[in-house]
Symmetry: C2
Subunit: 528 residues, 2 copies
């Protein structure tokens, strides 16, 4: 299967535009083969019109049908694994092992949503039966469940070319919800996107899904994405990327005649608090663990620990020395794009230009383009607290050690934090009791709170929250990873006084789907 | 208990401003006794700072504690029923019977949320246990539940001075979620608001809730409300009112440095479709039923049926005649405020100024101020389809009959609809089969879809959806009535690798609260 560089509009291919762009190998800066044609405004419109047309049929597919579609996508992706990983390695510089793992995560995610649909209870069915005898007014029969919002626009992310891109979590959850998806491919990996899009197209055909259930548009300029967000038929947006990009989409969506929800995961510095007892017992392992977490994926994870708060104690100093040593012997690796590498360096330089910030350790920079070299900076808690800019994300393998003199400084740092995806506390049982107020403060700031682990590595499961208060995301009420992500693309509807045969199966009196329901105020869990 | 005209800031009263206003009797236009002092910007800030201070303690109250607080509010309200109803009658012109019923609805709503909290499963607890043996990476222990967002601003509504105001659904659901509430009283019923606010204050004291869990600010100018929406410590807004008012709040909230969710229920025309078979069998009852629904509460219900689509058949004509007769013998009644009555008349005049719209029946106008007189207008489906303005809400006891020539015209009307709170279809079994596509079209447009009933009367229960696509509300993903309203004020959090003793009770291994949980992908419903 070769690449064609075209946009996938429903079941067809299209390349009507006159703008083309190339993927680049980040290590060499060389353009990779074949041009990709940027979608025109007309092509975007065609994709969205097809999605709207598909919606009426797709949203009424059963959970089994949608689940089987998602599984077929997973199968089609597995079939092209070698081609996909080969192209993706070229486009992203990410090693083969990592990409194979990411593909497994992507197909696993699709299968998890398929199982959610097969089980069926996610629709939150609620039934309150009629009581015609009630005084003073009869009680009507009302039944509620979640239904799909409409066509969804998804923006591929640069840092997870598979798991957060064309067939990633946003697409999987929107398709699971019953929403057709129009994906804007990330311009850093258009070939990967095309291969994944083609697999989805193949799965849609095989599963007899309506044309328009999925489309993929390419583009290197912001016009393509804007056309999606502004289109009146698009009802929600999923995005993972920078604060600037996500906030721009959010603002654009709020300005529409009909505002729509934007789920933008916009970045986070993921503070890690090292408590004194834990350092006392475990400084060496903590230094190793943090070093690994900082460098995972060349620091290009949304949950990369960008701030580490360390007490100014003897063991804190020892931890810092061990971390310095660890980092100083590390070797640089290729970042995803030249632009990301450039931003990483300039972000670090901006921090280092501040007199209160010191660079205390740096890894070895290898030959080649787009090299991301790990670096550790240090600042005092007092200085950190007086400069809000120090909390901003520097996307790459670095962390800022904030050295605090006492518990109150730690609490003050926690109190002043913006919203983040995660916060982590390393502590002994005694530490954790003593710092219970720290945990309570952090709970208000993040979507996920970790104890004695590291934030990188986001488990795809029912209980995951990959989200958090602004500016980490544009909507703290939702998660973009895990099965709860499905409700980003649904809304409740209430059927009042419906004859049983006109109700969806989820709400029929006999509960033919055997799902969990809240019936007259009591949860009823039928036996399978 | 006399009125004092002051703002309730936490446990104290305050009247520092120099602006005062009076409530007016809508029938006479006379000012009612005692001036109400508009809150200053400083007073609003004090209320919100107290709310923030209360939040840390209040959000950690158990479901039992919060439930008991809500029940105590209900008790305190019942204690002042006669005084409350007397004052409210003066301020709103609504009859005593209606207000007693509305108070029952208000206290019932508080008690329903209390029972939800006692049961406890609403937090959507999800547990995925660790698997340290998993290859290639160990699986961490992750546990998710809903937690409170933060201080909430609530705007009292004019049309439900009790059930959608100071202790109404927004306040009840926010307090249930664990969020302190700052209410902006509606200036049309400040005395009612003060009495209700005082009852909540009393309940907060008796239940030993932290100061700031509730505050009430008065104001006739928009500055007070703006100060609430713009305040950085406010994390969500609840509002019921006009499109203009709700959209202004939404825009203001989206422009904040940290955008926050606004749940604005902004109005709706609630189309009713009369199908041919149903008219054939039942035209007389349908005319009576519609007439009653149109006039309920002098047409001042969010779910008032403002558009009625009627086939151009002999029985459709007969239905229209019966409705005309019914309305022509009706008598006017006092509307809530002079401004609402004025807007009603000018809204009708605007419709009637269009040559394609005819007034076909009008009730008798009684003596007295602010009289709302029922009126029926008529337009052809073709003309309706060519003028989007005809779909806009005219708040009051009127409906626009849209006479359609065939099924396709009905479908086209459904297709073209904006978002509404409700849509209703009257049909025989045969009708409903034949018009299945109409139901499917309407499902996309509304939060609640009714068959063979009338949209006025919103049941407070688990399965109610009082919401719907824009412009009916600013957030179709939520309901403002029923227990599902609680999640408007919460967000999910994930605890990773937490020692059991540090987890909230909802997520502890032993499930001490005996709530429904999703454990390792399986719903577990413990026996009580």
């Amino acid at each position: 299967m070769g690449l064609n560089g075209k946009n996938i509009l429903g079941f067809g291919l299209s390349a009507k535009g006159d703008k083309a762009f190339y993927a680049k190998h980040p290590a060499t800066g060389d353009s990779l083969e074949i041009p990709f044609f940027e979608a025109t405004q007309d092509e975007v419109d065609v994709a969205i019109q097809l999605a709207e047309k598909a919606f009426e049929s797709y949203r009424n597919k059963s959970g089994l049908e949608k689940g089987s579609f998602l599984e077929t996508i997973a199968e089609e992706l597995s079939k092209v694994e070698s081609e996909l990983v080969a192209r993706c390695t070229q486009e992203t510089g990410l090693p083969e092992g990592r990409l194979k793992g990411e593909l497994g995560r992507t197909t696993g995610q699709l299968r998890l949503f398929a199982s959610l649909l097969r089980e069926g209870s996610w629709v939150d069915a609620r039934i309150d039966r009629a009581n015609p005898e009630r005084i003073p007014v009869p009680k009507p029969d009302t039944r509620q469940m979640q239904i799909a919002l409409g066509p969804v626009g998804v923006f591929g992310a640069s840092n997870f070319p598979l798991a957060f891109s064309v067939a990633g979590g946003d697409t999987a959850s929107a398709l699971a919800a019953g929403c057709p998806v129009v994906v804007k491919a990330h311009p850093a990996h258009p070939g990967t996107s095309e291969l994944v899009g083609t697999a989805i197209l193949e799965a849609a055909r095989k599963s007899k899904m309506p044309e328009g259930v999925f489309s993929l548009v390419q583009g290197a300029s912001i016009a393509v994405g804007q056309a999606i967000v502004k289109h009146p038929l698009i009802k929600a947006i999923g995005f993972t990327g920078s604060f600037r990009g996500g906030k721009a989409l959010f603002d654009e969506a709020a300005r529409r005649d009909e505002p729509i929800p934007v789920y933008a995961e916009m970045g986070s510095t993921n503070p890690v608090f090292m408590l004194p007892g834990s350092l006392e017992e475990n400084h060496g392992n903590l230094a190793n663990g943090l070093s690994g977490s900082v460098q995972l994926g060349v620091g290009q994870f949304c949950t990369n620990p960008g701030i580490t708060i360390v007490p100014k104690t003897a063991k804190g100093d020892q931890f810092q020395e061990e971390l310095e040593q660890n980092i100083s012997t590390s070797e640089s690796a290729t970042m995803l794009t030249e632009a990301i590498q450039h931003n990483y360096v300039s972000g670090l330089n901006q921090l280092k230009s501040k007199s209160q910030v010191t660079s205390i350790s740096k890894g070895k920079q290898l030959e080649g383009g787009s090299q991301g070299t790990a670096e550790i900076l240090e600042v005092s808690a007092t200085d950190f607290l007086s400069d809000k800019a120090l909390e901003e994300e520097v996307f790459g393998p670095s962390t800022l050690l904030v050295r605090s003199n006492n518990k109150e400084e730690m609490l003050q740092i926690a109190r002043n934090l913006n919203g983040h995806l995660t916060a982590t506390v390393h502590g002994t049982s005694k530490d954790l009791l003593e710092y219970a107020d720290l945990l309570k403060l952090l709970e208000r700031k993040v979507g996920r709170l970790l104890i004695n682990s590291f934030p990188t590595g986001v488990e795809v499961c029912h209980s995951m929250v990959h989200g958090g208060p602004f500016p980490a995301t544009s909507d703290a009420r939702m998660t973009s990873v895990g099965t709860a992500a499905i409700t980003r693309f649904t809304r409740p509807i209430c059927y009042q006084n419906f004859p049983d045969e006109l109700l969806p199966d989820e709400l029929k009196e006999s509960n033919p789907l055997h799902i969990l329901r809240l019936e007259d105020g009591t949860y009823i869990l039928p036996k399978a």
